[in-house]
Amino acid sequence: MASTKRNRRRGALPPPLTPYSEPLPGVDTTSLAGKLIVIEGADAVGRSTQVNQLRYWLEQEGHAVLDTGMARSALAGKGIAKAKDGNTLGPVTMTLYYVTDFADRLENEIVPALRAGFVVLTDRYIFSIMARAIARGEDPEWIERVCGFGLVPHAVYYLRARVKDLVSRVVIGRGAFNYWESGMDCHFGDDMYESFVNYQTRLIRTLDHMSKRYAFTPIDASRTPEAIFSELQRRIRSLQLKPVNGTGRAVRRSA
C-alpha cells in the first residue's frame, strides 16, 4: 500500500472519476458518464461568480449541470454553520467536519449526478480542505490520506491571485474581513488584516505546492471577471463535453 502511494505521488494520477487512494466502501463508481470540473482558489478570488456564469453557459449549451460547494451537504451543512458561529472549532475538528460534509455530497449528490451524465461543477474540492488543514499546521500526509476517497476530477481550474488582489477585493467588495477567512482561530496576526494576509499567504503557498501533484490548471485571476470567464470557456470546450441525455435525477433519495 505504502509503495503504491509513493508511486502515485511520483508518477501519474489515477484516471478521472476513480478515487485518489482509497475506495469508497459500498459506492459503485465504475459506470460514471458525467464530467467533474473543479474550481479552486483562495478566499475572495472570484470563484462563485465564475461558477454561476459557467453553469448558465453550460446549460445554454444543453448540458445538465449540478453545482455544489463547501458546507452545502444535507447532513453537515447546518452543523458547520452553527459551529463556526460559536468560534470554538478546533483545527482538527473543523477539518474533519468539512471532510464529513464533502463525503456526504460526494456520495449523495456528486456520484449520482455523474452516473446520470451531468456536468458537475464544484466550487472548491478536497484541495481547499487539505490546504486549510496544512496551513493550520496539520500533517499533510494525514489529511491527504483522509481525503483519499475523493474522485479524480477531469479538470481542476486553480484561480490564482496575489494576496494584495484578495485584500482589495475583500475591502472594496465586502467592506470587512471575515473571522474564518482571516484564520483568526489560529491567530496568524494581531488584527484581522494582518491575520488575513498571513493566513491567505500560507493557503496560496500550500495550493501552489499541490498544483503539480494534482495537475491543477492555473488561471491568472488578477484579470477582469470577463477575461477569466473566457479562458475558462475555452479550456472547458477543449474537454469535449458530449451532450448527454441524462435520465436519472441527481437528488438524495427521500429518507
Binding site: M1, E22, P23, L24, P25, G26, V27, A74, L75, A76, K78, G79, K82, A83, G86, T88, L89, G90, P91, V92, T93, T95, L96, Y97, V99, T100, A103, D104, E107, E138, D139, W142, R145, V146, G148, F149, R252, A255
Partner: protein, 244 residues
C-alpha cells in the same frame, strides 16, 4: 503501535475501556474513576459520541438514516476530535486522569465491520492521544445480548447494523453485526496491547483485577505526576465530602 497515535508526553494519564454493548465496561470504568477520585487524584470522564458541537448533526443523521459507512466514520471522528481538542488534551496536559468510555478502538472495530478500510480509519485517528491503559472487556455474544435485550425494548438502527442490509430482522442483524465487531476487537488485541478482562466474572472480581493492573502498570507514575486535590486534614472530613 508506536506510530498509530500521538504519544502522551504530559503529566496526566489516559485510561480507556472497550468492548461491545452489554459487556459491562461502563460500570467498570465508572467504579474505577470513583476509586481514583477518592484516592485524591483529579479525574475527568469522556464518553464516546458526546461532543455538544456535533450532537445535533449526528442525531439528525441517525434519525433520518442518512449515514453511509464513510460518513458514519467521519462524523464520529469529528466528535472525537472535538472532545480531544477541547477536553481530553487540555485536561491531560493539566495533569488529570482522563477515563474514556470507548476510544478510537471503537471506530477501528465498528467502522471496519461496516466495510471501511482498516488502514484508512487508523490514519484518520492518528491525532488521538495514545492511552496509558486500554482495557478490553471480553464477552460472549450471547451474554451481551441477554443483558441488552433484557434492558431495552428496541434495538437501534445503526447499533444493529441495519444500514448494511445484512438481515431484515433487527435482532438477527444485531447478532451478526456485533459478532463482526467482536472479531475485530479480538484481531486487534495484540496490536493494541489491550489488557483483556473476562467480562463473565462478577463485577467485584473484574474491578479488583482492573485496580491491580492500574497500580502495577502506572501506580508509581500516578503518584509522581498526576494532579491531586489538596490534602484535607482528617478532622474536617465530613460525610458529604466523603461521598463525592
Amino acid at each position: 503501535m508506536d506510530s498509530l497515535f500521538t504519544p502522551n508526553r504530559h503529566r496526566g494519564k489516559l485510561i480507556v475501556v472497550e468492548g461491545i454493548d452489554g459487556s459491562g465496561k461502563s460500570t467498570q470504568i465508572s467504579l474505577l474513576s470513583r476509586w481514583l477520585r477518592s484516592s485524591g487524584y483529579a479525574v475527568a470522564f469522556s464518553e464516546w459520541n458526546s461532543s455538544p458541537l456535533v450532537h445535533e448533526t449526528t442525531r439528525r443523521g441517525k434519525k433520518k438514516e442518512m449515514f453511509t459507512p464513510t460518513t458514519f466514520s467521519l462524523m464520529h471522528a469529528t466528535d472525537f476530535a472535538d472532545r480531544t481538542e477541547r477536553y481530553i488534551l487540555p485536561l491531560i496536559r493539566a495533569g488529570a486522569i482522563v477515563c474514556a468510555d470507548r476510544y478510537a478502538y471503537t471506530a477501528f472495530a465498528r467502522d471496519v465491520a461496516r466495510g471501511v478500510d482498516p488502514r484508512w480509519v487508523r490514519n484518520l485517528y492518528s491525532f488521538a492521544i495514545r492511552p496509558n491503559l486500554a482495557f478490553y472487556f471480553k464477552t460472549p455474544l450471547d451474554t451481551a445480548l441477554s443483558r441488552i435485550l433484557g434492558g431495552r425494548d428496541a434495538l437501534k438502527y445503526y447499533e444493529a447494523g441495519m444500514d448494511l442490509g445484512i438481515s431484515t430482522n433487527v435482532e438477527e442483524s444485531f447478532r451478526i453485526f456485533q459478532g463482526r465487531i467482536i472479531a475485530e476487537y479480538e484481531s486487534m488485541t495484540a496490536e493494541m496491547g489491550f489488557y483483556v478482562i473476562d467480562a463473565t466474572q462478577s463485577i467485584e472480581e473484574q474491578q479488583r483485577e482492573m485496580r491491580a493492573i492500574v497500580l502495577r502498570a502506572i501506580g508509581r507514575s500516578l503518584k509522581k505526576n498526576v494532579l491531586r486535590a489538596p490534602v484535607v486534614p482528617a478532622g474536617i472530613l465530613t460525610e458529604t465530602n466523603g461521598v463525592h
